[in-house]
Structure formats: structure tokens, C-alpha cells
Amino acid sequence: MIALTEVTKRFGAVTAVEALTLKIKRGEIFGLLGPNGAGKSTTIAMAVGLLKPDSGRVDLAGKGPPTDPEARRCVGLAPQALALYDELTATENLGLLASLYGMSRAEAVRRASELLNLVGLSERASARAKTYSGGMKRRLNLAAAMVHDPDVLLLDEPTAGVDPQSRHSILELIRGLRDRGKTVVYTTHYMEEAQRVCDRVAIMDHGRVLALGTVDALLREHGGKMTVHATNGAGERRVETDDPIAEIRSLLESGGATELRVERPNLESVFLGLTGRRLRD
């Protein structure tokens, strides 16, 4: 659905994205994970034509590069930095975007109220965007990406600064989009989030993809072993193992633990395994 081939982008001495190749399939939720400055936003910006890659090619849904306005029609973008007209109401913001995509006035109004309903902002529909809280703005920013019902959604940290409840509903919304056959590319720092909704993830660092695959495959390949944490009077012990049951049994036999916890590998440990660093150091 989106194909980036060997794209590179430099900002002066900084190489933000280096020879990156990504093929995103139709109907999948694709997670782009990585620490701050990994190059996630830069990748997204190149995918929609906001930045011109120094080298490499981008193709949108087989319609060509995003420099062609018609190719851009099939994507919707929710940028990381909120992009809203503060002095316009939510309805007006969405209505304006709808007109940019050629919708009639009536259509635009209908679509706006539908989307505001979807992101839970119906009650504040006629309040100016500047009166919104951070999380509300984030949700409106997301709604703005979906105005023209695009086949591909590029969501740059759609859950940043959103309360747990809203986060849950945003994730449900993203799942719902997949059910309707949409393709979603989505960046985040929250590993557990990606683990929950993504079909495939790419882990980026320093402008490169370190690993790419389904969550399960990544966990298997790079997640390492399970860890058993055992606490007794002497302190805590961590044991890495492939067979936690056997490990627990032997721990209990050899002198009793007051508390036992098994930690499964997660994407966090995948990143740790790949780079030797924790994600949010």
C-alpha cells in the first residue's frame, strides 16, 4: 500500500533516515517504534510528500510518489505536532478540510459530526479548538486525518498526552479501521500499545530499521528468554529461562520464595536486545 525504497533524509550533519525500505501491506496496522529522534516522523513526512527524500523512492498505493496531488488523496495524516486552526470550532476545522478534498457543504457537515462522534467530541463540536484540552486536541487532530475516509492513515503518535480511557478508545478506533479494510501506520513510544494493536512493527533507531516483523516473531527472535523474579527474605533473584514452570518449581523447592513473578519478553526487551539500551533512557 505504501512502499518506501531506500529513502534517505539528512538535515545538515544529521542523518534522520538512512536507506530505509518499508513495504506496508493493505489492511494491516503497522507500528513504527523507536526512541526520540529515531526518524519516525521524518519517515512519515516523506511518505506524504511533506519532505522530499534526498534519495530513494516513495510510492502510494501504486499511484506514484506523493508529489502527485492525486496520489496523496488516498492518505490521511495526523501529524505529531497538532495542526488545527485554534480560532475555528471543531466542526469548522473538519469542514474546512472536507472542502479541501472536494466535498460539498452538506457532506462536509455530515462527515464532521460523524467523526466528532467517533472521537467523542460531539459535545464540544461548536467550541473553538483553542478551548480544548491537550487530549481533546489530539483527538480532533486524529479526526482531521480521517475526514476524506482515506485508505491509508498515517498516525504520528496519536496517543501522546491522552488519558488512559481516551487512549483505549483511540486504540479501539484504530482496530475498527482495520476491520473496515483501512491500512494504518502508526508511531508510538508505548510498546505495550503496539503489542496490543499492531499486526507488524518496525523498530527504528538512528534512522534505520533494526527489526521488522509480526509482534510474535520479533518476541521470539529478539525478545530473549522469560524472566522469573523471586523475592525472599534475602532479596530478589532474577532467572532467565525457557521453561519458567520448571524454574519456579526448583526455586520453591530450594528454599521458598515469598513472591514469584514471571515476566514475558516484550517489545521493550526486543529493543533492549537489539541495541543494548532501554527504549526510554
Partner: protein, 439 residues
């Protein structure tokens, strides 16, 4: 105190990081001072000539010499019209040239001028009729001064001749007085009396001149002053052009300038707040996006124009042609949209665009003649005025308000405005930085 310093240092640093803005804070005043300095320096010598038209209805040696003297002045560029087709026609033609802004003023030398030059004490002061463009009062005052000076030089010329005349008279008297033949002396007596009084007169004139040679006014007898030149000044189309008709075009143009600057800023603001990228991601071409901006700018300018013209009407200004006024407004709007486009792409921060914007506007206003008469500027600066939409839109608006321009006469200024608009738009679209990088 620490906090005060910290705040101040932060602001200095911010200004320094915003290159364009810093440039204009420091550099523009210099450019401006230099430019004004050039203008002031050139005052007189390097100054561009003031265009006037002269109609000689007197056709005497005196008037021809005066016209010649005007034509030879560096400060003036003289077009002469002959009165073959009749006095009134020539007068009307000259006024027409002023109305059409081809000339700043018309100077008519009425019949009897030569006579007055030759016999200043008998026939009274020289008379000149000036018809002035009412929007160019400053130049009018300068013109009067110039004419006065040239006329006085003429007057002095006659005086200088009087020295030879005086010598000749003295010579004549001497020869008569030496005559021994009684018969001959009696016959020459009337001539002797004449030459005697002539000599007295000439001596009196010379004394007078010596007394105050720098003052163009001439003292005849003690306490009484005579103007060597009497001006009759009229303003063309005075019946239509009340003072507001002169000031409103200027006001309208400043209004259009502010409006386009405000819109130029809005593009930068959209870049900063990120909303620009929403439009960039939408399936719009770059020119569609900027066309939208241009249209907004046009609508705002038009509103300013409509409000100001409505106000002018309240103050008794009546356009000589409503359709032409609409045309002039339309073209003014187009011209300023071009300016807006150029401004909006020339900086990436509000401060930069604001700085560049106002300095450009001041420059354009200056070379466009909205701040000081163009005649006071050196020639090259005057030709630079061709690129200023300000001068052109004032011409177009005045043309429709009180200059009675015909459609053909509107083509010049309107064409220039449309050209500025188109060039501004095309260059703006070219230069517009599409990249999302927010600097």
C-alpha cells in the same frame, strides 16, 4: 536583576537567530538612510527634472528668451506647445497634459509678457499662469520659486543691458554738449533732455539692483516692494477634486498595503502552527494553495477599498467614472496581491516577514512618490518607481476619481498593476518553500 538580564539576553539571542529579522533591524535603517541621503544630496544638481509644459501666447522676443531660459534649466524638463490652433486650445491641451499626469504643471505666458519684461516699471510685473496638479503641491511651490528666479534673471538681463544703454546715452549727451554750432545745439535740445532723463532712470535702476541683488523682489521706492512676477495659479479639475479626493487614494493604498501584509503574515503563521501541512497533504497543487491565499488577500484588500471609498463619498468625493473606479480598484487589488505573494515567501518567521514587509512597503511608497514628490528624487530612483504598485494605483485611483481618465488612459497604470500582480504571484509560487521543515 538576574531575571531581567536573562530575559533581555534571551530576546537579543532570539533576534540574532532570526536572520531575516535581524538583517532588517540593522540593515534596513542603513539602506533607508542612504537612499534618503542620496535624494537629499541630489537636491538641486542630481535631482531629476520636473516635467512642465510651457505655452507661449505672447510670442515676443522677451517671452521666447524666457521660455529658452526655462528650457535650459536643469531642474526643468520643458515641453513647449505652440498656440497655432488658438489660445484656448493651447491652454486646454496644456492642462490636459497635467491632468493625465504627463506633466506636473502647465505654465502659460500670456500676451504682454515681453512688454513687461522690457518695461517693468511702466507695464507692471510680469504675469504667468500656472495650472498645477493638485496632488503635487510641493512640486508646485518649487516650480514657483524656479520661475521667479528665471524671471528675475531676465529682469537683471535688461538691467545689465542698461549699462551699455547708459554708456550710449552718456556718449550721446557728451557729443551734444561738445557741439559748438548754436544752430545744431538748438535742434538737438529735445534729444539732450531725453538722454538726460534716461541716464537718471538707468542710474536709479542700477542702484536699486546693487542694493539687493539676491532678492528676487525689487524695491522701487523706499518701503515699497514689487514682485517681478505675478502668478495666477489654478488647480486642474478643481471643481471635482476637493482635498479628500487627493488624500483618499493615498489612504486607500496604505490600506491595501496593510491588508496584503496581514495576509502575507498569515501564510507564515500557518507554517508555524502546522496547519499549512494539512493543506499540503490534501490533494491540492502548490498553485491552488497559494491561489487560495491570494484570493483571501484580494478579498480583504477589496473590503478595505470599498470601505474607504464609501467613506470618501461621505466626504463629498464623487468619482468621475464609477466603472473606471471599479477597474482601478480591481487592478489595485491585483497589484497588491502580487506584493503579498512576494512578501509571504521571503521570510519564515512572523518577525521576518513583518520587518521585510514594512521596509518594502516604505521603499515602495517612497519610490512610488507617496512619501515625497518624485521630482525631488534623482532620475534613477524615479525610474525605480515603475516597479512600485503604490504609484500606479494612486494614478489609477486618481484617474477614476477626478482626473477624468479615459479608458485608454487607464490602460497604463492598470496594466502595470496587473503585471506586478502576475509577476508577484508567479515568483511567489516558484519560491514558496514546500518543505515541512519549520525553521
Amino acid at each position: 536583576m538576574r531575571a531581567v538580564l536573562a530575559i533581555a539576553w534571551k530576546d537579543v539571542r532570539l533576534l540574532r537567530r532570526d536572520n531575516a529579522s535581524a538583517f532588517f533591524t540593522f540593515f534596513f535603517p542603513m539602506v533607508y538612510a542612504l537612499l534618503f541621503g542620496t535624494v537629499m544630496n541630489s537636491f538641486g544638481s542630481g535631482m531629476g527634472a520636473m516635467d512642465i509644459v510651457v505655452v507661449d501666447l505672447d510670442n515676443t522676443e522677451g517671452s521666447a528668451a524666457f521660455t529658452e531660459a526655462l528650457a535650459n534649466s536643469n531642474e526643468l524638463d520643458v515641453l513647449t506647445l505652440d498656440a497655432d490652433s488658438g489660445e484656448e486650445d493651447a491652454r486646454a491641451d496644456a492642462r490636459d497634459l497635467v491632468r493625465r499626469r504627463k506633466r506636473v504643471a502647465s505654465v502659460v505666458i500670456p500676451a504682454g509678457f515681453g512688454e513687461r519684461v522690457a518695461r517693468p516699471f511702466v507695464s507692471g510685473p510680469m504675469e504667468l499662469e500656472i495650472a498645477l496638479d493638485p496632488s503635487r503641491q510641493a512640486e508646485g511651490a518649487m516650480l514657483q520659486g524656479l520661475l521667479m528666479r528665471r524671471a528675475f534673471e531676465q529682469f537683471q538681463g535688461v538691467m545689465r543691458d542698461s549699462e551699455t544703454l547708459s554708456a550710449m546715452a552718456q556718449e550721446g549727451l557728451d557729443s551734444i554738449r561738445k557741439e559748438t554750432d548754436e544752430e545744431k545745439r538748438r535742434r538737438l535740445a529735445p534729444l539732450e533732455a531725453f538722454l538726460g532723463s534716461l541716464d537718471t532712470l538707468i542710474t536709479a535702476m542700477q542702484e536699486m539692483r546693487a542694493e539687493q541683488s539676491d532678492d528676487p523682489r525689487v524695491r522701487i521706492t523706499s518701503g515699497e516692494w514689487m514682485e517681478p512676477v505675478k502668478f495666477t495659479t489654478t488647480e486642474i479639475t478643481a471643481e471635482k477634486a476637493n482635498a479628500y479626493a487627493i488624500t483618499f487614494p493615498q489612504g486607500i493604498v496604505w490600506g491595501a498595503m496593510s491588508a496584503s501584509l496581514a495576509m502575507a503574515l498569515s501564510l507564515v503563521v500557518e507554517r508555524r502552527t502546522g496547519t499549512l501541512l494539512r493543506m499540503q497533504v490534501a490533494p491540492l497543487s502548490r498553485s491552488t494553495l497559494l491561489m487560495g491565499k491570494a484570493l483571501a488577500s484580494g478579498i480583504i484588500s477589496l473590503l478595505v477599498l470599498v470601505v474607504l471609498i464609501a467613506m470618501a463619498t461621505l466626504f463629498g468625493v464623487r468619482p468621475s467614472s464609477a466603472p473606471l473606479l471599479i477597474l482601478a480598484c480591481g487592478c489595485t487589488v491585483v497589484g497588491f496581491v502580487g506584493v503579498m505573494m512576494l512578501l509571504s515567501v521571503c521570510g519564515k518567521t512572523e518577525a521576518a516577514v513583518n520587518g521585510i514587509g514594512w521596509s518594502t512597503m516604505l521603499m515602495l511608497a517612497m519610490v512610488g512618490g507617496a512619501m515625497m514628490p518624485r521630482a525631488f528624487m534623482p532620475g534613477w530612483l524615479q525610474s525605480l518607481g515603475m516597479i512600485s504598485p503604490i504609484g500606479w494605483s494612486i494614478t489609477a485611483l486618481e484617474g477614476a476619481l477626478w482626473r477624468d481618465y479615459s479608458l485608454a488612459e487607464m490602460i497604463g497604470p492598470c496594466g502595470a498593476l496587473v503585471a506586478i500582480g502576475v509577476v508577484g504571484f508567479v515568483v511567489g509560487v516558484r519560491v514558496f518553500d514546500w518543505s515541512a521543515a519549520r525553521e
